[in-house]
Point group: C2
Chain length 391, copies 2
């Protein structure tokens, strides 16, 4: 809707897998989200602008994708067609396999279909800050690449080493290697957006009509941390922090996400340039500081749960996002004023919340599962994951 609002011709290609996963999990968006058909109709009524919706599985319907590219000749494909939750990707073998199969086939299909179509299409891909490996990067995150000296002494500028913390994050690292290859071999134009954790619910476009409301996930699989905290505050139950809450993460507001995507779309890399990488983040913050901020504002308490995730208990994180600033995108930082919009949403729809879904039920491995289930919610878990070996 942001792109359409800015005058771009937009076609949505989606197989609605996210809604199908809701069915699988017995979960649903806190907000009553409409069908895509209703949403594009409402958008046209409100703005006079048309967005087409095509139900197509990017990971499977390759021939239709090629046909679509040949027919529409788009300037860019914004590639979001991936299973996007780390906890879901770690639930069990079925979800690990679905995440890898769907995400890698999808990315490979997008690249192969563009090459096959012969149309010069710029891929704008949603990556993740998680490709860098929280707690293993040294905390200082460059924009995608680092300088190294290879054995034999040659200096090279390479993709930042991949050190993903979940199957989901791993797929984004695999994507990055596919992009590197097709960029080198076929001159494919790619921009990879390594995004932080998104918070907030609606953009100015969503707020034009109730039928355009965005989905809001608060469950242990898909709910991102700040949204979950605000949901818990609305229900007047303790905020659930995993481990010590010493995890430093990067955040960005959903409105800025949309702006960043547009900046990427309108600034493709030149012919022959390598994959462009942006860090799509506004700032970094420790999870426990975020919890304390919300607790102070709302009066709820904080509950420290054993961490179901296999990750460093505490980490530093300092992210460079200069390239977006150079394009004139200055994302908003965490601001209690902005929390109000989320609080209005959680207050308004809290009767739709299934509180059983909030506590995480995906454990990263057997040790985590046994620790978390044995000492459920008893206190801080002290097992830390192994960092990359320090020389």
């Amino acid at each position: 809707m942001h792109l359409s609002d800015q005058g771009h011709d937009v076609i949505i290609v989606d197989n609605l897998s996210r809604r199908n996963i809701d069915n699988e999990l017995g979960a649903q968006s806190l907000t009553p989200i409409q069908t895509p058909q209703t949403r594009v109709k409402a958008w046209e009524e409100v703005t006079g602008k048309k967005i087409e919706f095509i139900n197509l599985d990017v990971a499977k319907d390759f021939d239709l994708l090629v046909q679509l590219f040949k027919q529409e000749k788009p300037d860019a494909v914004v590639h979001f067609a991936e299973q996007r939750a780390a906890p879901y990707s770690m639930k069990g073998a079925r979800q690990k396999r679905y995440t890898v199969d769907n995400n890698i086939s999808g990315t490979n299909n997008v690249c192969c279909a563009i090459i096959e179509s012969g149309v010069d299409i710029h891929v704008v891909h949603l990556g993740t800050m998680g490709v860098y490996g929280y707690g293993n990067s040294g905390g200082d995150i460059p924009e995608g690449y680092i300088d190294v000296i290879l054995p034999g002494g040659r200096e090279r500028n390479i993709l930042h080493p991949a050190y993903p913390g979940s199957v989901y994050h791993a797929t984004k690292c695999l994507d990055a290697l596919l992009f590197q290859f097709f960029n080198k071999n076929d001159g494919l134009k790619v921009t990879d957006l390594h995004q932080g954790i998104v918070w907030g619910t609606n953009t100015p476009q969503c707020m034009k009509d109730e039928r355009l409301i965005n989905r809001f996930d608060y469950d242990g699989d898909y709910g991102t941390v700040l949204n979950r905290f605000l949901m818990q505050a609305a229900l007047n139950v303790p905020l659930t922090v995993y481990g010590t809450g010493g995890q430093t993460r990067a955040f960005i507001h959903i409105t800025d996400t949309a702006k960043c995507v547009e900046a990427a779309v309108t600034n493709p890399p030149g012919a022959g340039e390598r994959v462009e990488i942006f860090n799509q983040v506004a700032e970094t913050c420790r999870v426990r500081d975020l919890a304390q901020m919300i607790a102070k504002k709302t009066g709820v308490s904080i509950n420290y749960l054993n961490n179901p995730r296999n990750e460093a208990a505490e980490n530093e994180l300092e992210v460079i996002n200069q390239k977006f600033k150079n394009l004139g995108v200055h994302p908003k930082t965490l601001d209690e004023g902005l929390f109000e919009e989320v609080i209005q949403i959680t207050e308004k729809f809290k009767d739709r919340c299934d509180t059983d879904l909030i506590i995480p039920k995906s454990y990263w491995n057997k040790n985590r599962a046994s620790t978390c289930t044995e000492k459920e919610s008893l206190g801080i878990e002290s097992v830390s994951s192994e960092p990359l070996p320090v020389k």
Copy 2:
């Protein structure tokens, strides 16, 4: 057969995809290879040892794979279940997609099935020297890992940067990241064998009975370079060198490949150790030097074709393989004496050769396709691929 001969209990799990691809390409092994059923029967007749054969698709039949692991509780899985030819992987969208889908789903399934089974199984995986990126490594290839200094100053020992030259090679780089993740998250024991180009046909085990003869590929897709040269020599046609022949590649004889796999199987990494990486090579050699060696020996001429591959015209390559030497494996180097066995094979079966299949028909990208088809076989092609940017 080598493992069985050494006293290991072996089960073959194979969906015979390689034979199906022969059907697709209208090609077949130069040697008349028997069905797996006939082969295991012959092996038992000759040696008294039983090898079980199970037709199962590792990339698809996940539940059967888990069941098999639980039932058999193997010490190791030797994971060869991947589409293995770079030219085939570059033929077109269908083959690119098959290679990625089959190889990545297969590797992910093997890892997930082991974790799901709860059995402590060591994965021995066939990687490739191509993960290092010929011509971009500086020519000095360590055993899997390099030291780097990350932004912020922390020293880390990371996987050698991936810089694959084909979709096939890319899948092995993706595999490496999946292994790194499952090793870190679940303690999965993995040994990755980055193999050079295999030459030779039969092992001592194959030679015990004619029904045990190994397959011999000479076609533009699956035929490796030295075997192809010897095939051409047997037919008394010129040896076909792509580009200048300045590509330096690593080689290993097929008998040593079997020995290396056994050394890997019997030396699993310890609990909690990271992914073990071996370079499974005997030596390195320039393709044109190899051609000249065969030309001199056999009297045939050399024809320099335009290079269908997008790769550096000339590269250095110096590979460390100390870890195999430490395990007592001292692979044989290129030796004209050893060529005799291959020459006997190509002479004996040359009437089965379809000479139309020898010339490459897979072009790496559009530029390569137009250059190769326009100036077919006219001379050396001078376009070189872009190396990684040098600072």
